[in-house]
Symmetry: none
Subunit: 412 residues, 2 copies
């Protein structure tokens, strides 16, 4: 079944709200194996809405609309659909009574406008609205299905789950599932080059996408409920054979969660000493509930004086090599490890920009120090992008070293 979603509301076109309904519905419909080929947002305007309905009617079997079911004169979705399909609007006694009851409950009187919400195109199956006064409806005509839903997500979601999802489920025997593999340390085009043969498959499909500092491969399979997971796992296995330890997480897992889980699993603690990341490492660690078991100290030493006084970085090191140097990164990591009595110490020092760069030490030069009981690693990074990007990538590189160490992988 081919479907599309038309969202009605001038507020969407003015950029006052973001269309979360289209995302939500698409995600749910994908699970049913219904292909959604288009989303359209259009204003509360009869002519333009009719134009959208006409286009959709010609290319899709399932047309879902959201919004424009309210009681005001602005709200024209129902009237426009009725007119487009040449159907009269018919009053529903039941819906009218619901409106009267609703207003009784809130101790107010309905106006004439409100009764507009009891009108539906002839032949509609009415969908009650538990969370507002605008019912939705489903209309089958000439092999096409119209599903008409209210705009507020608090009304649309329960209505969809209770009435529309079960209604649509009967049209499909298939389901779509996907799994995301998160990759760090390889660029998008490099990843693509490495897994190219797998990108050609049509079921499951494998699609690369760039995240903020990382790359993802999304495996999507379509089939019977009991088969799709196996289909995904087989492709995942092939990808893992190729990309190996560059894959650091699955689905919504974040790098810092992986690190915290590994620390917990291994019974290790970590302390951080930051310069250019300015607290981002500590903040990310403590974003994760329960971080206190594996993280007890973070220090942000933004000046040379603080590096000396709080972390005990040697003045001679700072004088000879500067704050942004492998030597300083090393001492920071080692010293915070001792100060915190932790198993591991992680440090960053670099130039996040936009100013502060020089020909020898340009913006984007960052050293990550990582002190372990066995040895201390220092990694030199040359990062591009703005301050935020440089800091985020430094953080990912730093945590990735910890991940690799705890997983027993190669670090440099």
């Amino acid at each position: 079944m081919r479907g599309e979603i038309i969202s009605v509301g001038t507020e969407l076109l003015l950029g006052q709200i973001v269309n979360t309904n289209a995302k939500y519905l698409s995600e749910r419909l994908a699970l049913l194996g219904i292909d959604i080929y288009f989303h359209t947002n259009v204003g509360d305007n009869e002519e333009r809405l009719k134009q959208c309905l006409k286009i959709a009617y010609e290319r899709s079997e399932l047309i879902i609309t959201t919004g424009g079911l309210g009681p005001t004169v602005d709200d024209i979705t129902k009237e426009t659909i009725a007119s487009f399909l040449n159907l009269p609007l018919v009053e529903s006694e039941e819906a009218k009574q619901e409106i009267i009851n609703f207003f009784e409950r809130i101790g107010q009187k309905p106006t004439e406008n409100n009764f507009k919400q009891a009108l539906f195109p002839a032949g509609s199956k009415i969908l009650p609205n538990k969370n507002g006064t605008a019912p939705g409806f489903i209309l089958e005509k000439e092999g096409k299905i119209f599903v008409v839903l209210p705009g507020p997500p608090s009304e649309l979601i329960p209505m969809f789950e209770e009435h529309v999802y079960p209604y649509l489920k009967r049209f499909t025997s298939e389901t779509i599932k996907s799994r995301v593999l998160k990759i760090f340390g390889l660029g998008e085009s490099k990843v693509e080059e490495m897994v190219r043969p797998l990108l050609q498959g049509s079921n499951p499909t494998v699609a690369p996408l760039v995240g903020d500092g990382y790359v993802t491969l999304r495996i999507t399979a379509k089939g019977k409920e009991e088969e799709v997971y196996e289909m995904i796992s087989q492709v995942e296995k092939k990808i893992r054979e190729i990309l190996g330890d560059y894959i650091y997480a699955v689905d919504d897992e974040e790098m810092e969660e992986i690190v915290i889980k590994l620390l917990q699993k291994r019974g290790f603690t970590l302390a951080t000493a930051e310069s250019c990341t300015g607290g981002l490492l500590a903040k990310k660690m403590t974003d994760v509930p329960g971080a206190s078991k594996v993280f007890n100290l973070g220090v942000v030493t933004y000046s040379n004086e603080a590096k000396e006084k709080v972390l005990g970085v040697k003045k001679s090191t700072l004088d000879a090599h500067g704050a942004v140097s492998p030597e300083t990164a090393k001492e920071m990591a080692e010293n915070v490890r001792v100060l915190a009595k932790s198993d591991l110490g992680l440090s960053t020092t670099g130039i996040a920009g936009p100013s502060g760069g020089s020909p020898e030490k340009p913006v984007g030069l960052v050293y990550v120090g990582f002190a372990t009981p066995e040895k201390t690693y220092v990694k030199k990074l040359m990062l591009s992008g703005n301050r935020d990007r440089i800091r985020t990538r430094s953080m990912l590189h730093a945590f990735d070293m910890v991940r690799r160490y705890l997983e027993g992988r190669q670090i440099d």
Copy 2:
């Protein structure tokens, strides 16, 4: 000028991401007085994208596309537009060199795929991409304007602001401007109650909106370039008379930027000692370029031991009152001030949840300590919401105390 936005990406149709680009662009275009009549999302599919281009071409003068400019075989926006307009793709020497430079900077080699990003439909004005490898372009043909932008917001937004906004500005005479006043310490309904008469105006309009821990009032005026600022300023003045020092910032200014500006202006330095915010204060301070002049030390003491050892919080204080107590907040703020030799010390200690609460000290209980040369303030907060929300609000409360102090306002 009639415009529409076509967002390209199968991930939109699968509901994997929400289309924030369409919202962002629409909001900016509304300010230019450009009417956006449609948003369309379509997958990475040549035939269907061409169909959308055809529909848009017939009804709009301005067609903005987002997404599908990456280096992979999936990415077909540019190729499809060229084919739709019967234009050849031409290699840009400059863009090619940029790609080479980009990869040199990050110490990697471009693949053949990457050079696909140096191809543009003949006649394009190329828009450089500072934050990625996919340049955008503008193409004028037969009275129509195509603006073709990359998908990642971190690339699209700077490109739009730097190149597209100024380009489109010339096509419009009436202007819409708005100014946002940011309010901290009052709830939305309280703000609405206080400024109610001002909410009735039609030009300028005043609209309240809830931000993440703060409330905003957006003043929007429509008129001639030289008049709109005066119209806005008059309403702003009235609002300021009512809300006074609850207004902490204007437009995109963040609380931490205000604090840093005030510190710079007054020649003060600040150090932070965090427990429940876990580095968020330090991270926010150092988000601001140039923070190093006023911020030299942040400490995240997540364990009692770290509070004692690094910050010198007395064991007797921790034993008698616990880590989450006004006494501990006070010592943390005072001691980090001494340790950093800074003018001001700011601390947080509390229970961000989801676990760790007790009947006496529930999740959401947070103490903020603020040490100044004259005295130390401690503020008790009872916050609601999830971990992230509690941490964000703690941060805003902490910085708001510093702001009030530096502005010479009342602190408690």
